[in-house]
């Protein structure tokens, strides 16, 4: 059948599969690095925003609002194509990681803030009344409870970061999507694109299912 030959050409898929896998490895590297860096940045921003001195709080809020507003593709292009004009030249990999981290950090900060603010005031008061210092209060009492609350939205954010890694293909990063478009051009057949889409699906669908499970379990209320 013509349609099958065009979109699901098995010989072409088999031939380009190693390329796609190499692309997936790059995608995972970019995604994982950005997720970890975004978590660290987000936690820092969130604590600063909640408990920092007034001017720093304003800066953190400004940062969070800006990086949640700016389209990721625009940011990525600015980082890769505009920064060299001021002498900052980042590799495609670093450009992608920096752009993804800056944005993911802003979203993560908001997720952490919502988690911490969901902890009842009585938990803070009991900690203070016992004489616990700020660090002990956060590490022993507040964050362990907040983490449980933020795991579903954080996983969601991870999925978004993983999906957004596809944008790295515009800065010539040989990620899964870039490999697929190149293979498509070489083979003069769109099957590799379909292959890439299926790989994204196979990789991210389980994560999406995991989030649903978390949310269902949270809904049942295991307090």
């Amino acid at each position: 059948m013509d349609l099958l030959d065009t979109f699901f050409n098995v010989p072409i898929l088999i031939r380009t599969f190693p390329l796609l896998l190499a692309g997936l490895a790059v995608t995972i590297q970019i995604g994982a690095t950005s997720i970890v860096a975004g978590l660290a940045l987000g936690l820092f921003l969130c604590l600063v925003r909640l408990y920092g001195p007034r001017p720093v709080v304003l800066l953190a809020r400004l940062y969070i609002d800006i990086f949640r507003s700016i389209p990721l593709l625009v940011l990525l292009i600015v980082v890769y194509y505009a920064l060299p004009f001021v002498g900052i030249r980042l590799s495609p990999f670093l450009s992608a990681v920096v752009a993804l981290t800056l944005v993911s950090g802003a979203y993560t900060a908001e997720i952490f803030r919502a988690g911490i603010e969901a902890i009842p005031a009585g938990q803070f008061e009991a900690s203070r009344a016992l004489g616990l210092g700020y660090r002990d209060m956060m590490v022993d009492v507040i964050l362990p409870q907040a983490v449980k609350i933020v795991i579903p939205p954080l996983t969601n954010n991870c999925i978004n970061v993983m999906k957004d890694t596809a944008l790295a293909s515009v800065v010539a990063m040989p990620d899964l999507l870039k490999q697929a478009t190149q293979a498509q051009a070489l083979a003069a057949n769109p099957s590799p694109l379909i292959g890439a889409a299926l790989i994204y699906l196979a990789f991210l669908w389980p994560l999406v299912a995991l989030v649903s499970r978390f949310e269902r379990r949270m809904g049942q209320g295991t307090r």
């Binding site: 008061e125 009991a126 203070r128 009344a129 016992l130 004489g131 616990l132 002990d136 022993d140 409870q145």
Partner: protein, 245 residues
């Protein structure tokens, strides 16, 4: 009698609303003081100022054992000496009962885990729930949770214990077990300041009763003076309302 808590000229405002107005109060070491009064009279706010869970207006002075209660270096010292029991228990839900009690002694007093556990088990036995040590707060009844909260406060060996309506969130059949624990504590020399609606308990246990209304101390005296011969009309009105319902 040396005053362990000294409060002078204490005021607090929420915007235009005066929650506390020019409170002067001295509480002696070992004294058991019950604070009574209608809701919104400032009772809770008053005791929450003593460990600075609430800030208060400039000009007021509170000291605990001579240490000023104000933001800064001394605050940790004050809070280590002043335990608090809340209306809604505020146990840490992600820790076992034992860990709830051990946490502050280990972090603040730098006690070893073994020593803190030994002490926690002693305290649980003292409040009558030794067998619940490994459970999580969510699996205990309200009365049991409040007894854990008392044990948690005691683990810091505080010189002052503040109780903020400790039985108000409890089912009626559990009020007695918590009051029993508090009654036993009253004889141990620890200074207690108790905000309560349990008039029978206040009459029986308090060395001194303070009646508050509208953010001011209206009347203070022995239980007999306050309950049997209140001087102020406002005190009489309040007592007749709560005692003859």
């Amino acid at each position: 009698m040396a005053g362990i808590i000294k409060i002078s000229n204490l005021s607090k405002h929420y915007g235009a609303f005066a929650a506390l107005t020019e409170i002067d109060l001295e509480i002696a070491e070992g004294e058991v003081v019950c604070v009574i009064g209608p809701s919104g009279s400032g009772k809770s706010t008053l005791i929450r100022c003593i460990n600075l869970l609430e800030s208060y207006s400039a000009g007021g002075i509170i000291t605990v054992d001579g240490i000023p209660v104000e933001p800064g270096r001394h605050l940790a010292q004050v809070r280590a000496e002043v335990g608090m029991v809340f209306q809604s228990f505020n146990l840490f839900p992600h820790m076992s009962v034992l860990r709830n009690i051990m946490l502050a002694p280990m972090r603040v007093r730098k006690m070893t885990a073994a020593r803190a556990e030994e002490k926690a088990r002693e305290l649980l036995a003292r409040v009558g729930i030794a067998e619940q040590a490994e459970k999580y707060p969510g699996h205990l009844s309200g009365g049991q949770q409040q007894r854990v909260a008392i044990a948690r406060a005691l683990a810091m060996e505080p010189r002052v214990l503040l109780f903020d309506e400790p039985t108000s969130a409890l089912d009626p059949e559990m009020v007695g077990e918590v009051l029993d624990v508090m009654r036993a504590l009253a004889g141990t020399g620890v200074t207690m300041v108790i905000v309560t609606h349990e008039m029978g308990f206040a009459r029986q246990v308090a060395d001194r009763v303070i009646f508050m209304n509208g953010g001011r101390i209206v009347e203070t005296g022995t239980p007999a003076e306050i309950f049997d011969a209140p001087r102020e009309p406002r005190t009489r009105d309040f007592l007749s309302a709560v005692l003859n319902h």
